[in-house]
Symmetry: C2
Subunit: 259 residues, 2 copies
Amino acid sequence: MILNREDAMTETSIIYGKNSIIEALEKSEREFNKIYISNNSRADVKIEQIKELAHKRGVIFQFVAKEKLNALAPEANHQGVVAQIAPIKYVDLDDFIEANKGSNSSVVILDGVEDSHNVGAIIRTCVCAGIKGIILPSRRGVLINSTVEKTSAGATNHISIIKTNSLVNAIQRLKENDYWVIASDHHAEQNHYEVDYTDMNFALIMGAEHSGISKSLLKMADFRVKIPMLTNFNSLNVSNAAAIILFEYVTQKSKKSKK
Amino acid sequence: MILNREDAMTETSIIYGKNSIIEALEKSEREFNKIYISNNSRADVKIEQIKELAHKRGVIFQFVAKEKLNALAPEANHQGVVAQIAPIKYVDLDDFIEANKGSNSSVVILDGVEDSHNVGAIIRTCVCAGIKGIILPSRRGVLINSTVEKTSAGATNHISIIKTNSLVNAIQRLKENDYWVIASDHHAEQNHYEVDYTDMNFALIMGAEHSGISKSLLKMADFRVKIPMLTNFNSLNVSNAAAIILFEYVTQKSKKSKK
């Protein structure tokens, strides 16, 4: 969204929902332009918390009519509060690789995932699983938007988000830097739990909701793994599939650290 | 939705979306009242498939203006096709227990999960994981609705869905019938992967998005398990948390069957 010249920032993103805004005020270094609060929400505890946090950070808040909020965040369940905030800063892949050298690193690559709710849920799960970065293609699938930020429950502020024009080139760079590439593919022979994720850098590719992973990327994978099913209803949602594989990694790591 | 007397069924549910309707035509025994197809969708391959399947099952379909579809499935991404279908038949808990005696059985209990997308995604994952039933409280949280059916990708047709006035009584009945009760609780001491799920009947309780599992149910649990996190961002989405625990069970079962 481009604002007019009178505004402090030349470009802002919209985030909405009480928890998202509290999370961003508490945890994110992103600059706020302004927080808009519905005229009717004054008595709410979380709104009070938002006002307090905004005050601490020197962020302006303004009480407005609900219609203004609806215009800023159309079709969104904004819970009476909307903020204009500096957009997510995408991280350069080489900088990411450099910053995560030395200890085992991990990244999730979304090959054209189209549903903002899925992208948000995957980012949320990645942060819980200690994944260091997420790579999104610039031209296919979803980039970070208000719905992604809301669904991620603020997790977008806790992970490096990398945007790339070419997933093929990005994967090539990761391979050159000792990342093992794992593709989630339901035609695979190997089960996802048969890979030892704990002693390597890995990049996990998750495919689009309907078409899966592109052939060109599938060819680059060092491992192709499937999630075994106990019925023929072979149809996990992509965010649940990502959660299952990533928490297999967490389980392995957690078991190892107890030995 | 109550229809007028001239309609064949006295009560119908609405399902929408091409895949959901194909799935229901192919796999479900639920009676169809009518399928409404948008005037503009005639050339589509999946619409052709729907027409063919409807013809085989003797289901009437009718081409209508998009406005009619919007009225039948408001605010839904119906993809140009909406069906009136007999509502999901809820299963009686005692019948469920009886029908699943003899081999190991498993059921997921949703204690007030409020988001239809989460309920749909959990049912989808349950079917993939071979879970036999799902228990929903009649008065808290979400029951089966159009959004649940759509998000489940048709999985609602492949699992016993039980509705109960009292989760406490339902859990008591399960315990009397040799089910072990497992509660997902992030305050728990035990890790979810430390339970052996393969050699018992189990009932897994998942709590509501914000409030978690009610104290009265938590007290009834034989095991309380947590999903360990690799960061302090302790905030998995409930459908992803369910997927992680249920596929730990699938992994254990899959490893055991290979021995």
